[in-house]
Every structure is written in structure tokens, then in C-alpha cells.
């Protein structure tokens, strides 16, 4: 009985230490776990894969460093696929802490593409970074009318009419889809206002915390794909053939999840032992 009671009262710091060590050690040990691809992720990949060179998509990067771990690998993988397929990308960042990060992601993706293929992706020609404006709901509506309403200039303060890529892009009618990678409620606005009002096909890459909330929209077809958390990111890295931080992270996830499940079991054993003791003494 004493052991069970002890199980009930482990100091939280031991839990922290166990989790920290588990993550640290499993990061160092070389092993991997299979990454099965879900239909939700494959749909997004297939959609982009069937686009023609020269088609455009809108990549909405709506997150900040707090959710970067899960979402950055998605952004980089989507950009890789678009660059390889010569698909033009309109990029926005509607989180106030996001623009510098989105700009860096574009630089990284362009540099990696150049290293792989020797081909330089040019801002204004192959992609456009429009940057940030406050109040995502109204900005999403504004872009649906014309990108020039909220964004007369791009992130670098260049008038967007002078960018070659934007010559034929007025509003959502001129992009094949919106891919929203988000850690905020901007996703709801994209669904209600972007897809809802302008009927533009929409797919989302969201944090694990948000993922389960969007399955009803997936069933109705309001969104045509979901990348949920690090697993979704790892699936997309696998699909585009560049396993990176997300795939590496999934093996660690497995160990960390096991540790947490063990703690749940320990907690429950302790709880039932204590309840039994209380019932006996009553």
C-alpha cells in the first residue's frame, strides 16, 4: 500500500526530469519510426501535385515562434513542393509576430531550392511576400476583392503592381487554392470569410491543439486537407521526400508519449489504491 501511496505523490519536478531526459536521450539515439500518410495530408499533396507550372497558390503563414516547432516544417515542405513544381506563391503573414519568421522561411526555402537545383527563386517573380496587416478577418475579405486593397505594397514596400508575378493576380479567383498554416483563430476566418464568401479551395496546416476541431469542416468539404501538428508536418516532409525536423521529432514523440502514458497509469494506480483504502476505513 505504501508504494501505491508514493505513486500518488511524486513531486512534479521528477515528472519534468523524466520527460526532459526522455526527449533528450531519444533525440540522440539513432532510430526512426514509420510515418504512415493520412488521407488528409495526401489530399493536399495531390492537389498541389496536379497543378501546372505557372499556376499560383496563396500560402497564409499565420503563426509566431510559439507554434513554430509544429508549423515551420509544414511551411518549408509546402514551399519546397511549390518551388519544384514552378508554382507561384503569394505569401501573407497575418500574425503580428510572424512577418520576420515568414520572410526567413521564404529565404530558407529559396536557398535550399537553389542548392538542390541551381535555380534561383526570385521575389516578385516566383513568389511574393505581402507581409502583415492587422485584423485578419477584414484583411482576408479585402484580399478576396483585390489584393491591392489591404496590400498596396509588399513587405519590402514595393508597389505590388510593379511586381511581375502580381500582374495577373487580382484576387482569390486567380489563385488555385489557399494553404493556411496557422496557430491562431485566423483559420476560422479563412474558413468563414475566405472559403465562405469567395469559395476559394482551402487547406489547413494547424497545431495539434487545434487539429481535431476542424474535422467537421473536412467532412463538409469546406477544407480539402488537414495537416495536424507535428505528425501532419512529418507526413508532409515524407511526401515531399525531405525528412527533416518533424520526421526526427516523431520518434521522440513516441518516447515522450510513452512516458506520459506511464505517468497516467501510475497516477491511476495511486488513485485507485487510495480510494480502496478510503472505502476500507469508512
Amino acid at each position: 500500500m505504501k508504494l501505491a501511496e508514493k505513486m500518488f505523490a511524486i513531486d512534479r519536478r521528477w515528472v519534468y526530469l523524466a520527460l526532459g531526459l526522455a526527449v533528450l536521450i531519444s533525440l540522440k539515439i539513432p532510430f526512426s519510426i514509420p510515418i504512415p500518410i493520412s488521407k488528409e495530408a495526401r489530399n493536399i499533396y495531390n492537389f498541389i501535385d496536379t497543378l501546372k507550372a505557372g499556376d499560383a497558390v496563396h500560402l497564409a503563414i499565420d503563426y509566431d515562434p510559439s507554434t513554430l516547432a509544429e508549423l515551420h516544417p509544414m511551411t518549408l515542405s509546402i514551399l519546397k513542393q511549390c518551388f519544384e513544381k514552378k508554382i507561384k506563391v503569394v505569401v501573407t503573414a497575418l500574425h503580428q509576430n510572424g512577418p520576420a519568421m515568414a520572410a526567413a522561411a521564404l529565404d530558407t526555402a529559396a536557398a535550399r531550392h537553389a542548392a538542390r537545383s541551381g535555380e534561383q527563386m526570385k521575389n516578385g517573380v516566383d513568389y511574393v511576400f505581402l507581409g502583415y496587416k492587422p485584423y485578419p478577418a477584414l484583411i482576408i475579405l479585402g484580399m478576396g476583392q483585390n489584393y491591392r486593397i489591404p496590400f498596396p505594397t509588399d513587405y519590402f514596400n514595393v508597389p505590388i503592381d510593379s511586381l511581375p508575378m502580381m500582374k495577373h493576380i487580382q484576387n482569390y479567383d486567380d489563385v488555385k487554392a489557399i494553404l493556411n498554416v496557422s496557430g491562431t483563430s485566423a483559420t476560422d476566418y479563412w474558413i468563414s470569410y475566405g472559403n465562405g464568401r469567395y469559395k476559394v479551395p482551402l487547406a489547413i496546416g494547424v497545431t495539434g491543439v487545434m487539429a481535431t476541431d476542424y474535422y467537421p469542416y473536412w467532412q463538409t468539404g469546406q477544407i480539402f486537407g488537414i495537416l495536424g501538428g507535428l505528425k501532419g508536418a512529418a507526413e508532409y516532409e515524407t511526401l515531399v521526400g525531405t525528412p527533416g525536423k518533424a520526421v526526427q521529432g516523431m520518434k521522440v514523440q513516441m518516447v515522450a508519449h510513452l512516458i506520459i502514458i506511464v505517468f497516467i497509469i501510475i497516477g491511476n494506480i495511486g488513485y485507485f489504491a487510495q480510494r480502496k483504502k478510503r472505502e476500507q476505513s469508512a
Partner: protein, 211 residues
């Protein structure tokens, strides 16, 4: 790696460790990092607003002779009346404009996305049952989804006391909601661990260069 990158990465790593030190207990290193973040983030916000709104949406249009941009600017300035207790009511005008626009736009669009489309999707579940592709398992699942939605909605319906049959259905509804919350919890664990993994990937591989 050149020395400037090493210094920068070391600064980032020390700040990371300062925040982690909170796990033991609150301490000056954590407080320093937290307050620094608040200041730097606010500064970043000032810069972003200046270069993405003030310059392209206020200064440049006025410079180009679009004098009517003075109206939103004046409305905006009224917001600052908040800083003075006596005049703070003046800020209600720009606020009213923003609230009016954003709530007005929400009514039809939220109705469409969150109610009509969701009900349409539910009707599709019924349509599927009569289609030629319907499988036994598919039909069973669709029936379960429909019952689940109804039951959970009954639980949210407070105009009738949750007793008798209504109580039973509402109870089943809570069960359905619990499965949903459990799934959310499972995903949330993954989300939180991801953040830790990324930080340790940074410390181990980018800072300490292990592996």
C-alpha cells in the same frame, strides 16, 4: 561557423536556458528573459505597424494626393482619447465603426460557414446512406455521427430541464463530447511535446553541435 553566429546562437541558448530555469522555480534569470521578451515584442510590433500600415496605408496615399485618407486617420486619432479619462467617450466613435463593420460582416458569413454548411454536411451523411457506394460500416458510422450531433446539441440546449428522456440523451451527448475532448487532449500532448523537441533540437544540434 563564424564567431558572430556563435555569439548569436549562444545568446539564444542562454535565454532558452534562462526560461527553462523556471521549471525549478521562479528566479531572476526567468524574470529577466520574460521582461526582455515583452519589451522586444512590443518594439517589434511598433516597427511592423509603422512599416506595414503607417507608411503604405497612411503616409504614401496622402503623399499621392488621396486626401480622403484623412478620414480614417482622424477616426483613428480619436482612439487616443482613451488616454484621457474625461474624453475617453470620444473613442467610442472609431470603436463603433470597427465593431459595426466586423459584426455586420460576421452575421451572414458565420451563419453560412458554421451553421448552413455544417447542416448541409450532416444531410450529406444521410444522402450517402441511399447512394450506391454506401457500405454497411459507412452507414453505421454516419448514423453514429448523426446521433452524436443530436445528442451533443441536446446537451447544449438549456431551455428544457435535463430530466427524463432529455436527460438521458444529454448524458449520451456528454459522452460524445468527452470522446472529442479526449481526442483534443491526445493531440494537445503531441503539440506541447513538439515545442520541447524543437527547443532541445536547437540546444543540442544548433548550439552544442552534437551530431
Amino acid at each position: 561557423m563564424d564567431w558572430s553566429t556563435t555569439i548569436a546562437t549562444t545568446v539564444a541558448a542562454l535565454l532558452t536556458l534562462a526560461v527553462f530555469s523556471f521549471l525549478y522555480k521562479d528566479n531572476p534569470f526567468y524574470k529577466f528573459a520574460e521582461h526582455l521578451m515583452v519589451g522586444v515584442s512590443a518594439g517589434y510590433w511598433v516597427i511592423i505597424l509603422w512599416y506595414t500600415v503607417v507608411i503604405p496605408k497612411m503616409w504614401q496615399p496622402l503623399e499621392a494626393g488621396k486626401w480622403y485618407y484623412i478620414f480614417p486617420i482622424l477616426l483613428g486619432i480619436l482612439m487616443w482619447a482613451r488616454l484621457n479619462r474625461k474624453w475617453s467617450w470620444v473613442s467610442r466613435y472609431p470603436l463603433a465603426f470597427y465593431i459595426g463593420v466586423s459584426t455586420g460582416v460576421a452575421i451572414p458569413l458565420e451563419m453560412k460557414a458554421k451553421i448552413i454548411e455544417q447542416l448541409n454536411g450532416s444531410v450529406d451523411l444521410v444522402t450517402y446512406m441511399h447512394s450506391s457506394q454506401a457500405t454497411g460500416m459507412g452507414i453505421l458510422n454516419n448514423v453514429l455521427i448523426l446521433i452524436g450531433i443530436m445528442a451533443a446539441l441536446v446537451y447544449f440546449f438549456f431551455s428544457k430541464a435535463h430530466t427524463g428522456a432529455t436527460g438521458g440523451i444529454a448524458k449520451f451527448g456528454i459522452g460524445v463530447l468527452m470522446v472529442g475532448f479526449g481526442a483534443s487532449f491526445g493531440f494537445t500532448v503531441m503539440a506541447r511535446i513538439s515545442l520541447l523537441i524543437e527547443r532541445l533540437q536547437f540546444l543540442l544540434f544548433e548550439w552544442l553541435k552534437w551530431g
